[in-house]
Symmetry: C2
Subunit: 352 residues, 2 copies
Amino acid sequence: MTETSITRSQPAPAGLSLPGPYLLFLGDTTEPGFAKTAFGLRDWAGERCRGEYVLPGGSVSTGLPAMTPAQAHAAGARAMVIGVANAGGFIPGHWVAALVEGLEAGLDIVSGMHTGLDEVPGLAEAARRHGRRLHDVRRAPPGIAVANGRRRSGQRLLTIGTDCALGKKYTALALARAFRARGVDADFRASGQTGILIAGGGIPMDAVVSDFAAGAAEMLSPDAAPGHWDVIEGQGSLFHPAYAGVSLALLHGSQPDALVVCHQPGRRAMLGYPGYPVPSIEETITMAIRLGQRTNPGIRCTGVSLNTSHLDAEAAARLIEDESRRLDCPVADPMRGGEAFERLVDECLEAA
Amino acid sequence: MTETSITRSQPAPAGLSLPGPYLLFLGDTTEPGFAKTAFGLRDWAGERCRGEYVLPGGSVSTGLPAMTPAQAHAAGARAMVIGVANAGGFIPGHWVAALVEGLEAGLDIVSGMHTGLDEVPGLAEAARRHGRRLHDVRRAPPGIAVANGRRRSGQRLLTIGTDCALGKKYTALALARAFRARGVDADFRASGQTGILIAGGGIPMDAVVSDFAAGAAEMLSPDAAPGHWDVIEGQGSLFHPAYAGVSLALLHGSQPDALVVCHQPGRRAMLGYPGYPVPSIEETITMAIRLGQRTNPGIRCTGVSLNTSHLDAEAAARLIEDESRRLDCPVADPMRGGEAFERLVDECLEAA
């Protein structure tokens, strides 16, 4: 442990902070699957999106108004977000002119891609020339301190998973939206790149040096007013052979009052790890409570979020009801909403 | 999680690899407490140390032969290790000429300090000029992959702690030495900077980006011959509010067959975290077994290492006996050795 680097600073608000509103850049993509980021932004951060910019040859659209960067700037946009990925995770050469056009129009460029924007030839220089900034949301922000373990004011909910990629982000987004719909002061706190684009800020936990990971989680949900909820996007799984350490750091640093366990029914093995069975919901609850009590003795599980996207409406409703009876707690698919979801929201808010 | 960065490479041997033997650089230190690294190297890596180099004004000595860099090189040394820290963790300006003298004499420079050697004015240029290298053991080596969770051949032991800084490194060193004394093929695997200097290689877990932490642990103890033991230096504690994630990643990636729990009797609160009580030995065993089973279902606790440096010999012996009876397992202070320690070694080797 890096004893000499311990800095006990007060948590600063939020980590990365992105400019907005956005113009969504879709390049010349013809494959909707590559534009998941743009669709996620349209669905979850519609108020931050002014329009889309598609290059000649592109056929994917979010349905938002088509705009050039100059039109978007005139409409209030302050950043152009790269809303598409390609298979290699890099920025192809024929997109660069369009990104420079964005900078010329007065927009910052925001990217969640693996390649840094400053590695794209000519882009950093163009940004300097036009007084704009390049934002890589996969890079950890500076100033993260080692965790101090101090209890913070306000309420916190963390979504945790039986595995990766099964709905932790969308569950947190749906809960934060539902809390606000009930008049509760709530913020979605993003811990991964897509969530950060949606929220306009956050910390990419997977990019933080391990000694500082719990400290990053403390920074992500700073002291807040009593009655305020931070709804924190979970990462990985406490049972994941590669990422459990990240999940535990996020659990300890978040100090959640409420946990919502996210699960995909029918998934037997961890994604990409065929030798590792997906843990049961019950084991996940037990382990998360046991570990989470270390930094918040009052932690409890307030329900389960099932990803039922592979089922029809009737089968999903039946499974949700069966699981709720079996586990004796609220169970819902936030993407389907309904009464089951409202009961889950009730239970979460009661943890205050 | 950075899905796109998943690389399923075979674990490469070892991470950092340092040149040796060493000349220990003590600067002009007058405070023995600042030379802990040099004393650790003398005690645990005596065969890697040729001598010491003390500047005028310095009064601390390891007892090794005094040598200039040129004399050390003639005696076979290939690296000069900075064996002292100062309060700020930086390299003072008046040491630089001596470091350059080392480079001129044909020695690489090795540092465990927080400041990078390449940030010391003039040093990188001098190294280039003389064809030597600068080694910062606090920097993670390149090429660390995301953990793959695959079981590896050979046997592994991991020391785990109820807290930081209570003997995990020295316990692992003492066990590896005792294994070898019995003719067992064993390597000490270092996960922190002092251990890396002693072993001549390893991975500084605290410097690895969190997504790769378990992968780093897999890399640290690669496939080995049946009957070979890797004795791995633990980090932090599963109950540490800042570092538990690192501890869990190291546990998952190490896939240990045997755990030895390290504890300092009488320590009530976690170092630097007065609000956090030190967990009991029993809780620590239970939690570590529960979590460690994920990547090695055969994991078991083979004993307890007590740091009794604050007790006299009689009190220490009594405590060790009482704790062994109470916990019903071998308990020893490896620094005191004796029959209790031999029983601990027996039990560890039986986990094969």
